[in-house]
């Protein structure tokens, strides 16, 4: 009888752990959508020939290419795939946010400005001698229902698209809504 309980118990425990892990993953994302600060980013096509990969479009942002001068600490640039925090501030009347500074991810921020938001990113590879640095934020993909990718891929290089992104306190970014000009294409509910 004891072994019967043990076999069933072990199976239930394994299932509960795996289900719990996935549920926590979902809840973490949903909480960013609910409570994260909203920033509006300008979408830029990454590679016009190859945007559509299976069922998602690859996206780039204006903040995907950062000027080297934004980094107060140039040493942070040297590490391979370095994790960084990029400070965003609302600029201009079009509602788009721009990068105003960047720092290594480790130590806490020195400036604490309520009007700006810090987003977590990762330098792509090792930056060479160029003036700019490529950064990814984990929001470079937009999954679409099958067959809807082509028109968006085509329009992306013609018209400006914008992305509403929610940013958590620790800087994690989460896609919230995708705009074609002023028109809302997709909006993500928390679940």
């Amino acid at each position: 009888m004891k072994s019967r309980f043990r076999v069933l118990g072990a199976a239930l425990l394994v299932a509960a752990l795996q289900i719990g892990f996935l549920a926590a993953l979902v809840e973490g994302r949903a909480s960013i959508l609910r409570d994260g600060r909203e920033v509006l980013l300008k979408v830029e096509p990454v590679d016009p020939r190859d945007l559509l990969r299976g069922d998602y479009v690859r996206l780039g942002y204006a903040i995907s290419t950062l000027d080297r001068s934004l980094f107060a600490d140039q040493e942070a640039l040297l590490a391979h795939d370095a994790e960084i925090m990029v400070r965003l501030a609302p600029g201009g009347d079009d509602g788009l946010w721009q990068a105003v500074g960047a720092r290594p991810a480790g130590p806490p921020a020195v400036v604490d400005d309520a009007d700006t938001v810090e987003i977590a990113g990762r330098i792509d590879g090792t930056p060479g001698g160029s003036e700019t640095v490529r950064v990814t934020y984990g929001i470079e993909r937009f999954y679409l229902p099958e067959g809807q990718g082509r028109p968006i891929e085509r329009d992306l290089s013609v018209r400006p698209f914008r992305m509403l992104v929610a940013v958590a306190d620790d800087g994690q970014a989460q896609i919230k809504a995708f705009f074609d000009g002023q028109r809302r294409l997709f909006e993500e509910a928390p679940y």
Partner: protein, 368 residues
């Protein structure tokens, strides 16, 4: 496994002929071997394993299709339910004594877990670290394997670790290197395979080690890694052959000499890639010829797979040397002529060894 049973049965016949056991005992032993072989390898269990693999593929495709007809939370709920059903089915099957069916349930469970992670990535448009997701998947498989003492989940963890190693280490645009964590992870999975009594997992780990060396070579480490692989394989072969029948118990798996020879062959091919001509080529070629002959002499032709792998290695090496050196200078006719000569030479060597082994066996049979 069938191989093992056949060998055991011929041994029993040998004992009977030698008068060590009587006819009745021999009959009982035969029945015992047959019953064990039957329980290990049943048609139904093979079907169950294939069904589990098909289920798993269906789950992954289901997620990949981004099927809009169903709200995504419902899709996620279905996948979570599938996890529960997979492990629940495993538990019920274990209690009823169908160990293989239980493993099929476990595989469905872990596939559903991976599908769930992919679905969440799709739901929230996550981009970035696929390699990390694979590592999490591998960790979940290993943990579940430990908790359920599941051989199939251990093997699945090894496969996932290998895929992780390649996705982390291989980069088409720049020289990749195998991730530093790969070897410790494989070592840990070997330890896990002792707890879960998983010989299949050990087979996959050995193959994964060879693929690690290939990855290291692709990443620019062209000499040291294959040289180490060759040395390790040679030592392993000698140890396995010296242990003889005990090797299966010591390593916890059969076929170690064959694994060692395959790894050695791979190392030689990689070294040939590094040393395409001149003295380097000669050294590598001599080394592999010596290894083939050495394998035959050391194993005394006792293991049929080892014997034929050695002949194969010998033949392949001859062809390689030919292609790398003179093949470029001769025309097609010359190529055919030379191939014929090479084949004749190989056949001559094989014949000589086969005759010697036959004589050896005959004298052995006479002596007791």
């Amino acid at each position: 496994m069938g191989n093992h049973a056949t060998r055991l049965k011929s041994e029993i016949d040998g004992w009977l002929a030698a008068g060590l056991i009587d006819t009745e005992t021999a009959g009982r032993l035969h029945a015992e071997v047959e019953s064990r072989a039957g329980s290990r390898f049943g048609f139904a269990s093979v079907l169950a394993a294939f069904a589990a693999l098909l289920f798993a593929a269906a789950i992954l495709l289901f997620v990949a299709a981004n099927w809009e007809a169903m709200p995504r939370l419902l899709r996620l709920g279905l996948i979570l339910l599938l996890i529960l059903l997979g492990y629940g089915f495993g538990a019920v099957a274990t209690l009823r004594g169908y160990a293989r069916l239980a493993e099929a349930g476990h595989l469905v469970g872990i596939a559903a877990f991976g599908g769930g992670m992919a679905l969440i990535g799709q739901m929230y448009h996550l981009s970035g670290d696929e390699a990390q997701a694979l590592l999490v998947w591998c960790g979940a498989a290993a943990l579940s394997a430990a908790m359920l003492r599941s051989s199939a989940l251990t093997a699945a963890a090894v496969v996932l670790a290998t895929v992780w190693m390649w996705s982390e280490g291989w980069d088409i645009w720049r020289d990749g290197t195998p991730p530093a964590g790969a070897l410790p992870i494989l070592a840990m999975l070997w330890a896990l395979s002792l707890w879960t009594r998983s010989a299949p997992a050990r087979h996959v780990i050995i193959l994964s080690l060879s693929s690690y060396v290939v990855l290291a070579v692709v990443g620019g480490n062209v000499v040291v890694a294959p040289a180490l692989l060759a040395a390790g394989a040679a030592i392993l072969f000698v140890v396995a052959v010296r242990l003889g029948a005990r090797a299966e118990r010591v390593f916890g798996m059969g076929g170690m000499p064959v694994h060692a020879m395959l790894a050695f062959g791979l190392a030689m091919v990689l070294l040939h890639h590094a040393f395409g001509d001149g003295a380097g080529l000669a050294v590598v070629a001599l080394l592999s010829f010596a290894a083939c002959i050495g394998a035959l002499v050391l194993s005394r032709g006792a293991d049929r797979a080892v014997r034929w792998l050695a002949y194969l290695g010998f033949g392949v090496e001859l062809c390689l040397v030919y292609v790398l050196t003179i093949g470029t200078m001769l025309g097609t006719a010359g190529f055919l002529l030379a191939s014929g000569l090479l084949l004749a030479l190989t056949a001559f060597v094989v014949l000589r060894f086969e005759r010697r082994f036959k004589m050896l066996r005959q004298t052995q049979e006479k002596t007791p």
